[in-house]
């Protein structure tokens, strides 16, 4: 495991993260999230009145629009759109504002691998910023199996190209403020739950579980990071209010 990667990271090491919320003026909620050189800008509009056709009007509808950095939206982007949509549908409380639509627009600013997890993290931060009711936060991470069967976290583009298989994992964030033991247990069992898992390429079942373990280990730091970054604004508010 001591093997270093090309960019000097250890296999389980993430790239530097950064996250800022409320970066846009017009959007109801927005966030910029970056993992190393990968950077995503997400904006949320909503909840807006009415749902699209073919959507259940008794629930809130989530709409995801993916904007590539250059050129037209292709099949890959359509797939991302769908994965993000499904994931967010799971973390949003859809029955609080029935018959409304919440649009999430995801703009790729720079792609250096792990694009989808970064987008999900950004979208989730933007939802928090917009005050959309959420069941919990999602933390996303990608994990790939390199040529020499190493399981590496948060691969960059170069590593993604060389990998044998890749898995995008979305977990529920770790809740810090559990009340007592009983709820701690509850929390734990949910925490381990995967919201989304998307795999590319062939990997052994063992490898998959290995990825899962590694990914799970990253939940805690990731959600701590999100907590820290997302609270700042509220904190300043409160200092005002106080």
């Amino acid at each position: 495991m001591d093997e270093k990667r090309e960019d000097g990271r250890a296999v389980t090491q993430l790239r530097p993260l950064s996250c800022t919320r409320n970066v846009l003026n017009r959007a109801h909620g927005s966030a910029s999230f970056s993992q190393g050189e990968t950077r995503i800008l997400a904006a949320v509009y909503g909840p807006k009145a009415g749902t699209k056709k073919n959507e259940n009007p008794e629930k809130a509808c989530i709409e995801v629009i993916w904007k590539p950095k250059s050129g037209q939206i292709g099949k890959a982007e359509k797939e991302y759109e769908m994965i993000v949509k499904r994931t967010l549908q799971n973390i949003c409380l859809l029955n609080v504002h029935p018959n409304t639509t919440t649009s999430i627009i995801i703009q790729v600013v720079n792609d250096d691998g792990s694009l989808l997890p970064c987008a999900i993290n950004a979208a989730c931060s933007a939802l928090v910023d917009a005050g959309i009711p959420l069941k919990y936060l999602a933390v996303a991470i990608s994990c790939c199996i390199s040529e020499n069967e190493d399981c590496i976290l948060d691969p960059n583009k170069l590593e993604e190209q060389k990998m044998k298989a890749l898995v995008y994992l979305v977990f529920r964030n770790s809740i810090m403020s559990v009340l007592d033991e009983e709820s701690t247990q509850v929390g734990e069992s949910i925490e381990n739950g995967i919201v989304t898992s998307v795999t590319h390429g062939v990997m052994t079942v063992n490898n998959y579980f290995q990825c899962m373990e590694q990914g799970r280990a990253a939940i805690k730091p990731l959600s701590d990071f999100l907590r820290k970054k997302l609270q700042s604004k509220v904190q300043s508010d409160v200092s005002v209010a106080g």
């Binding site: 000097g8 846009l24 970056s34 009415g50 050129g71 730091p221 700042s232």
Partner: protein, 447 residues
């Protein structure tokens, strides 16, 4: 019907009326005078040819890509230049995804005309084999936040991207000497484009019954304006394009007055763009030299390892402590600047810095690292850096309260290569503060 009503952005009668009445006494709602331009910030992405422009609350991202294609039959030895603008639904609740709207088309056409008809980019130098292979440039302009005057902001973004774009060098080779070999940028330095001059678009709005002229309208002003005129000029005072597509009629002398004002602003903005590009080039050069320190990636988090917790805690504590600091000292110009220099001096500071801006750092060699660090930081996440810093330290302003300041300032304006780290940071800071307070002088007095 009702849905549409609920979702549209609208203005009250009060606002409309107030904008007009305030203008009668030469006041604008954001505190500007009629001929004040908003604050301009130009940032560059890590990749060549990508830029982000922020003009007041308007935010545009430009991105240039190139491709080898067959030339048009009537121009066999000229490369091509295409501009794609899209009003992303991100920018404004009324923009929708899908087919570009009329206004997006007009936006693209104005920029297109300004750039192409005035031959700002030397397209002949983009020719590889006459009649067979030429470079085709594509400029994507993403409108991210519509705070009004998209034309000017998008135009600046297009220019900034073009100026920093580099196309890979290619030579002819192969058996028949006709095969095009594209060299990787690592092998042979990529080539910048030849840009003859910078056509700068300056937009005026005509508001109210009196047809009061204002420069650089905000989106509130755009909602009440009777007409708009965009003049594209270069620093020499040559008019490259004019667009006044109908709307309120104005007398000829007003048009000429606008053009004269525009020519002054164009000089200003040209300088700003050039400064930003220059400092970007220095950074780029530095990045090249410092490429080796085993990559700039460093962990904030070591998942599943002992170190992780400590590291995190550290990260968590720092900002808190800092918040206290700032609140006590009322976070002022001075304060922030000193802090920023601190960040680069002491180790823990740097550490914290990292956590803010995603710049790597906790691997040891600062001597080598700091610059790269800053470069990455500034490039990768200037935006991120800015507001997050602000938030963590509870300083004067939310990013969205950006208000104008007549003298334009671009972030990248200064940093000399030596003290890159500090300078970059500081410019950031300065801008923050300028943004913070409408008339900046008021703020400064406090210091």
């Amino acid at each position: 019907m009702e849905q549409r009503l609920a979702n549209a952005w609208r203005m009250t009668v009060n606002e409309k009326k107030f904008i007009e009445t305030a203008l009668l006494s030469d006041l604008r709602i954001d505190g500007r005078r009629p001929f004040d331009y908003r604050n301009l910030t130009i940032r560059f992405g890590r990749e060549d040819g990508s830029s982000e422009v922020q003009l007041g609350q308007t935010h545009v991202m430009g991105f240039v890509t190139s491709q080898l294609v067959q030339p048009y039959r009537d121009r066999p030895n000229e490369g091509t230049l295409a501009i794609y603008t899209e009003l992303s639904p991100m920018a404004d609740p009324s923009f929708e995804a899908g087919r570009p709207a009329e206004s997006a088309v007009e936006l693209g056409r104005i920029i297109d005309r300004g750039l192409r008809e005035s031959r700002a980019v030397d397209t002949e130098s983009l020719c590889v084999v006459a009649g067979k292979w030429v470079w085709s440039l594509r400029i994507d302009l993403h409108i991210l936040d519509n705070g009004g005057n998209l034309v000017d902001a998008a135009n600046i973004a297009a220019l900034a991207s073009l100026l920093t774009f580099r196309r890979p060098e290619c030579t002819l080779g192969g058996e028949d000497g006709q095969e095009v070999i594209i060299h990787a940028p690592e092998a042979r330095e990529a080539l910048p484009l030849t840009v003859h001059h910078l056509p700068i678009a300056i937009t005026f709005a005509f508001i109210g019954d009196e047809n009061t002229v204002v420069i650089d309208p905000s989106h509130f002003e755009e909602a009440v304006m009777g007409g708009r005129m965009t003049a594209t000029l270069n620093a020499n005072g040559d008019i490259c394009a004019v667009q006044k597509a109908g709307g309120e009629g104005v007398i000829q002398s007003v048009i000429m007055q606008c053009l004269r004002i525009a020519s002054v602003k164009a000089v200003d903005i040209t300088r700003k763009i050039e400064d930003a590009v220059k400092s970007n080039n220095t950074e780029r050069a530095l990045r090249k030299i410092k490429r080796h320190p085993p990559s700039a990636v460093v962990d904030v988090i070591k998942a599943g390892q002992k170190g992780a917790d400590n590291l995190l805690e550290e990260n968590m504590e720092k900002p808190k402590q800092e918040i206290e600091d700032t609140i006590v000292s009322q976070s002022d110009d001075m304060d922030i600047e000193t802090r920023s220099s601190n960040q680069n001096e002491s180790k823990p500071r740097i550490d914290k810095n990292t956590s803010f801006i995603g710049g790597p750092s906790s691997w040891d060699p600062y001597s080598k690292g700091v610059n790269v660090d800053e470069l990455k930081a500034s490039l990768a996440s200037r935006v991120a850096a800015l507001p997050s810093e602000k938030m963590d330290t509870a300083p004067p302003v939310e990013p969205r309260v950006t208000v104008t300041d007549p003298p334009l300032t671009s972030t990248n304006a200064a940093p000399s290569s030596e003290e890159n780290t500090g300078a970059g940071q500081q410019t950031n800071k300065e801008k923050t503060l300028k943004d913070a307070v409408k008339p900046k002088h008021k703020r400064k007095k406090k210091t």
